[in-house]
């Protein structure tokens, strides 16, 4: 992880200073860009392992850069956004961003997101393994068996498909659209309430306290995440 190059695309100087200082002290190499044009050049010459992208850049739409990065490399992109901009986050995630951070955020959140994103880009978590394990949850894909702390749990086929998709992307946020598309197919991509009701059922089966989920967390206005420690 440390030694990896992170491209920081942020126009606000104090914010950029914070990101540089926090990441540099954990051994990352930093490349900075204060405009989208700079970022585009830096993405070519520095070959970053991950990108932090502020969506509100002064010289254009951050989403355009995101699409460009996606077309060129598989380096994960984490977007930086504000609390009341859920639509913006969803658009970025559906356009290929890997995760997001809501301003204000602290060092620990920043590092946690970068670590998950780097791990995913190395293909360690997106697996086709027969058995997936996240925390106390163990999923045997060939036998369609799920256990939580060695206790067998019975899931419906829909709940099972949801859990497998979440577990394959453990630690990463998945939008409502991505989940609906994967589990129900492209025709049902707007029936969010089915997804919500099935998620509630899944929580009741897997969580000790479904109102305070420890593993299947909600990202308000965006989607869900299966927490990976």
């Amino acid at each position: 992880m440390s030694g990896d190059t992170i491209l920081i695309v942020e126009d606000e100087v104090p914010m950029r200073r914070f990101l540089c200082s926090a990441l540099a002290s954990h051994g990352f190499r930093i490349v900075e860009a204060s405009t989208l044009a700079q970022a585009e050049r830096a993405a070519t010459y520095a070959r970053p392992d991950a990108v932090l992208l502020d969506l509100g850049m002064p010289d254009g739409d951050g989403l355009d850069l995101l699409k460009l990065l996606r077309a060129r490399s598989s380096a994960p992109v984490i977007v930086l956004s504000a609390r009341d901009r859920e639509d913006e986050k969803v658009r970025a995630l559906d356009s290929g961003a890997d995760d997001y951070l809501t301003k204000p955020f602290g060092t620990s959140e920043l590092l946690a997101r970068i670590r998950v994103a780097l791990r995913h880009s190395r293909g360690q978590a997106v697996t086709s393994d027969v058995v997936l394990t996240v925390g106390p949850i163990r999923i045997d894909q060939t036998r369609h068996e799920v256990t939580v702390s060695n206790q067998r749990v019975h899931l419906t086929p829909t709940e099972f498909r949801m859990l497998v998709f979440l577990a394959r992307h453990a630690g990463k946020v998945l939008t409502h659209r991505q989940l609906l598309h994967e589990v129900w197919g492209p025709r049902n991509a707007h029936q969010t309430h089915y997804l919500r009701v099935h998620m509630a059922a899944l929580r009741r089966k897997l969580e000790a306290d479904p109102t305070r989920p420890r593993w299947l967390t909600t990202e308000p206005g965006v989607g869900y995440r299966l927490v990976d420690e």
Binding site: P14, M15, S21, A22, D84, G106, A201, T211, R212
Partner: protein, 334 residues
């Protein structure tokens, strides 16, 4: 203002002059129409000039054109109808113009206020993000620091205040909530996480029926619940329980948040939802939380009510009526 009246007089004068100049080629009804045009021109100055123009046009029309001419006498009662029409045109068009103006001014004020608030909150948020970031970076390198913890905690409070300010601009700006069917516990989860610190000294018990659906804007409703729970935590002694329960009743979702605090007097209960009301205690806060909660409930066509609780304490009851029939989830059974 005087210019508007002068323009009204001028318009009537012009209508009269034209009427006299081409009087032999037009009928008396056409003369009346000339005055209608003059009144509409005067109405651009608002209600007063419009009514004045109507009165002047009746007088001028009667004096110059209604036989016997050059007297105020009226030979034929049917001219009374013409007079009435002129007066009605004056009143009605003046009123419409005035209302249009007021709406335009209000829209402009609203627009300005929202633009100001959203730009202020953006401008505040950016330095706040840098402060939080830098303080947590420093905090990592120090073992124990009350100073840094205070900076981080206060930045967090400012950020919460901004969120409330933005929520109130949203609902008071008249933006319709983006309502979806959502299980209540899905909204409650992130609220309890966000209030982790505030609720540390208060056991929260929840009694929710399995998959209780509410038809709400998830982001706004999360803020509504957060403010009510935060309020309960702030105003009750450490160690006292907060109970949250919910049910569906008569096509509405009902959520109750009950505490065992000191309770509120009838007078306090009447004021508790007012913006910037902070109560008799010295609890820190801007006095926005409950006002925002009520604003969000109203935007959903619902209510938040406060009542004294049997055995001491306060109960807040939120009622959100469904905006559409509950979806049939069985139809999608696998």
């Amino acid at each position: 203002m005087t210019r508007a009246y002068a323009r009204a007089a001028l318009a009537i004068g012009a209508a009269t002059a034209i009427g006299i100049a081409i009087g032999d080629r037009i009928t008396i009804a056409d003369n009346a129409m000339l005055y209608v045009i003059a009144i509409l021109v005067a109405a651009l100055g608002g209600r007063g000039p419009s009514i004045a123009a109507a009165a002047m046009s009746v007088a001028a029309f009667d004096f110059f054109f209604v036989p016997p001419r050059y007297t105020f006498a009226v030979s034929d009662t049917r001219f009374i109808i013409t007079f009435s029409v002129l007066l009605v045109v004056g009143f009605a068009s003046g009123g419409v113009i005035t209302r249009l103006r007021e709406t335009a001014v209000r829209a402009k004020t609203e627009q300005l206020r929202n633009a100001l608030l959203s730009s202020v909150s953006h401008d505040l948020r950016t330095p706040l993000a840098a402060i939080t970031g830098m303080a947590t970076t420093l905090r990592e390198r120090t073992t124990d620091s009350v100073e840094l913890d205070t900076i981080i905690g206060e930045a967090r409070r400012l950020s919460a205040l901004l969120t409330n300010l933005l929520a109130i601009t949203k609902v008071e700006g008249g933006a319709a909530p983006r309502r979806e069917w959502i299980p209540l516990e899905e909204i409650l989860g992130p609220v309890l996480v966000r209030l982790d610190k505030e609720l540390a000294d208060h056991p929260v018990t929840t009694a929710l029926p399995e998959t209780l659906l509410a038809h709400v804007d998830p982001i706004l409703f999360e803020q509504l619940l957060l403010n009510l729970l935060d309020n309960a935590a702030k105003h009750t002694p450490a160690g006292t329980a907060i109970e949250l329960s919910a049910k569906r009743e008569a096509a509405a979702a009902i959520v109750k948040i009950a505490d065992r605090g000191p309770g509120l007097s009838a007078d306090e209960r009447a004021k508790v939802f007012d913006k910037f009301y902070r109560g008799p205690t010295s609890t820190p806060g801007a006095g926005l939380g409950l006002a925002v909660s009520r604003g969000i409930a109203l935007a959903h066509g619902g209510t938040v009510e406060v009542s004294a609780r049997d055995g001491g304490g306060t109960t807040f009851t939120v009622r959100i009526p469904d905006g559409e029939p509950v979806p049939d989830l069985e139809a999608e059974a696998e």
